[in-house]
Amino acid sequence: MLTVGLIVEDPKAKSIHSKLLEINRANKAFFIMNLNSENILKVRALTKSVKLEEKTLDLLQDINLDVNAGDTLAIVGSSGSGKTTLLSILAGLDLPTTGEVYLKKHSLHQCNEEQRSEIRANHVGFIFQQFLLVNSLTALENVMLPAELANMDNAEQLAKDLLTQVDLGDRLDHYPSQLSGGEQQRVGIARAFISKPDILFADEPTGNLDSKTGRHVADLLFDLNKQFGTTLVLVTHDLKLAARCQRQVIMDSGCLAEGKVEDIVEGTVDVIVEGIVEDTVKDQVETPAETLAENPAGTLAGTKVASEG
């Protein structure tokens, strides 16, 4: 049974926001220590703010993060916590207001749009919550797209192989509208891996799927990730999915803190957003126990966290 410390330990004294800032600062030493071991993504003192008429809204504050090659990292947080904004900056889709972002030695924060496009073509893969397949291209052509943009020679064969691997070998010529949500996301996964990216960003990859299909898609994602040895940065508010990653970080109100799913669930991390756990509880209730037993990696209780920390 899930028992959760859902409530902020001392709501009167400190906000979640300031607590996260403290944790973040405490972890800074650790991040710096790990810089030398195959570091693929490095973030330092990143902030993002926008001007709303006369007011300034801080979306991200003093974010520091390191991700090593082969890591699987989950960024969890409730809606509006800033996790998608962070993902867009990490992937080079957007620029920070201040701070530094390095992806494979490329300083993204200093790159213009064209340079970032090139970095994305050569190093980055994406999986989106909305799948975002090109509606007028077939499944095969959608998968070929990143490989073509990266000037790979055997794009078509690779795409066919990958689609076969995600059990869509017989749906090569189907358009997205002829595929179910789960099938579309499998095409999305195949597309993400075709160019053998160094790092893969997944934005709520199962967010638009029912739990069963979501699990199947997640299995595929993690299997392929393992097979390709890709670094995975996953944004989700699904704690079960997050638990399948080696590391989890928590976002709240633009701040980031290292944490573990067990800690979140068991209340040892005293900052938690009700929404995340509510979703998880709901999902747990809906998930048959047998399925959970068969797939311990999918359960919260059995999550094996292998954080470098």
């Binding site: 709303l52 008429e53 867009s88 889709l93 749009e113 975002l132 090109v134 509208s177």
Partner: protein, 871 residues
Amino acid sequence: MAIWVKQSLRLLQHELRRGELTIICLAIVLAVATVFSLSGFSSQIKQSLINNSTSFIAADRILQSSSPIEQSILAHSDKNSLNRAEQIQMSSMVFAGDNMKISEIRVISDSYPLRGELLVRKHSGEAPVVEHAPARGTVWVEPSLLKILNLSLGDKIEVGVSTLVIAGIATQIPDASFSLFTSGPNVIVNIDDIAATELIQPGSRLTYKYLFSGDTSDIEAFEKWVKPQVNESQRWYDIKSRQSPLANALNRAEKYLSLASMLGIVLAAVAVAVASRRYSHRHQPTVAVFKAMGASLKHIRKLYLLHWSLLCLFSISLGLVLGFLLLQAGLFAVSDSLPVDTAEFSFYPFIVAVVTGLICAIAFAVAPIKSLIETSPLAVIRGFSELSSNVGTSNSGTSNSFFSNSLFSNVKAKLKRFGWQQLLPISALFALLIMFSGNVVLSLALLLGGLIVALILLGIGRLFMNAGRSMGSRAGKAWHLAMANLRRRASENSVQLVSFTIAIKLLLLILVMKNSLIDDWQQQLPDNTANRFLVNITEQQVTSVGEFIEENNIQASEFYPVVRGRLSSINDEKLVKQVSKEENKASDNGRRGVGRELNLTWRTTLPDKNIITEGQWWSETLSSDKKTDNDAELSGQVSVEQTLAKRLEIKLGDILIFQIGSETVEVPVTSIREVDWQSLQPNFYMIFNSQVLTDFPATYISSLYVKPDKMLDLQLFLIQYPTISMIDVDAMISQLRSVIDQVSVAIEFILVLVVFAGSLVLVAQVQASMEEREREIAILRTLGAKGSLLRASVLYEFLALGAIAGTMASAAMELAVFVLQTQVFDMQASLHPQYWFLGVFVGAGFVGAIGYISCWRLLNMSSVTLIRRTM
């Protein structure tokens, strides 16, 4: 093959196959097809009408002169490969034994007529045949001459000093004058016989006519060369130069065709503009995904430039084919009434259509395609609905621009974005209008007027939508939802509303102008239009002719007395030169006269279709000044036709001096009149009050409508009065009717084309809002809204939009029609309330139907499908 080429071709191929490019394709196809068929049809019809109408002057162009022209002109016409014929006209007495008759002698060369047909009956009882010139030693005469001189075929007449044999009866002379005051029946003589007749003497009053015909380009080249050489005693003219009902009909028809073409182009351009925005909007997700996957701006730019170019090339080609087919269908449809010379087919419509297609495809698509290419890859994360509000802003590279732009006030952003990309389509439209109209002022007026009206409509539209919402809140659920939708999408709906309004307005405008023109023409030629004129009736004959008319119940005008006189001075200033009436320039030495004797009449009442524009008619003068009849009679007065008054600079109060025979008459101008020269009734430049001319010998004139069954009676009656000439205008009226019918068919066909273009604007505009609607319907479905409620609300929303657009369109149409009627078509302005309702109902029906049909598929989708599609 480069990757971008491959991807571009792949996208294009799939999208064409899947019908995703149908609207934009259709917009360009219809723009090109409309322009191709409109310009092709207009130019062919214009040419054909002119070709057919040139029979009225027997040539394409005529150089008229009071003396023989220089041989170099004729040599130049030969160099231009033109056909030519000569004609000399004069009045002369023709004798047959003791009988004589003043006649109109037409001396013609063998090639006469160049256009139209001269029909001659050579034997009694036989049908007339087409002829050119009589053989030497013979003449052809009009039937009335035989009757007057009691002659028959084979008899001889004396023309000048020659005796010539009557070898035929001319039943149709193509350029028989419209004027009622020709000196007598026509006698056609071969040009080689004229020297022997000795009719041409020094001082003879002769009119030399040099007739030319040929290919349009040849004739225009010659015209360009010869016009500067035409001197004061010469006149160069074509069928449209003459003041006649036909010339007027032709000019109006030509203006209408040009106007319809221009409006068709505006509609087609609007359709392309709307469709290209939709094209941009639909492709934004694809571009964002491509960019997120690492496609560079350069890659996207090349990919979409190729994609757009191929799409345009495909659509323009398809448009040309469709345009050609439409043109052929149109020409086939009117071929019965208007034979078209397809040999004269030119590349003009082809060039104009391609240029229009390219201008539309480039100018109207630059801004949307630029914004498409600049779509931020961030959209893959942020979503497209947020970014779509920022069309035209590239924000991915700047840290704060996305949020700030998406949240700033719309007006400020719109003003900021208004730059060359927005000016380009406006300039392009202006260029297109000039290209079609060849008139900068008219194009500018149309464009600026359109922009101002569009801005006003935007404001009024918002007011209507607000009003609709408060009304909707008191109505049923579906109405309430529909009105709420209208209000919520006020900005987008305002733009949509303006497009609908403009489309409906232009359609109404074309319809109203078409009907107005045709009605106007038909009013001029009602069924009982005068078909005979009786001239040269003496005062003694008036009573008996009047009695005959009354007994036989023939519809006739009153008898107008006619006295021939020459205007010699104005305010003691002698008119020093007397040249043809068409020469309008003032000389340095004084005003020119009319150049011929005028037909002067007198009467007490203002004739029908005459309007006093300055001064007062004498009957009014009488009543206002409370003068007696005698007082009025004592002072002579004259009323002058306004164009002549303008030309001779005659003002109220001026004293005109007329030379009538050996006497002079002085008379003050007391009124200026507008005369409808198109009415087939006797019209006069100068009308006097009865005091002035009654002592001069006068003949009388009257116009009659004679039913076919009374025709023989009239002919028999007139046998006893050989001096009375009867002029048959049946042929002219039927030819005029035929031209009007032809033009009517032509402009109805053009109306259909313009309706096509207008409908496309409506469809494209409805389609543009479809994705937004899809999302809304999905949400409402999810929230449990019943299908019937959604269907009704969508229908009501479009009905309301259409009705509002129709109302505004009716008002805008009236304004435009007023301007056109008064400024362009020279017609009486009038209101058209019957079309107001048509505008509202057709607007509501048309927009409602198109909107509902477009949404039908969405409305009938299951909730699951809808939600999946919108995810």
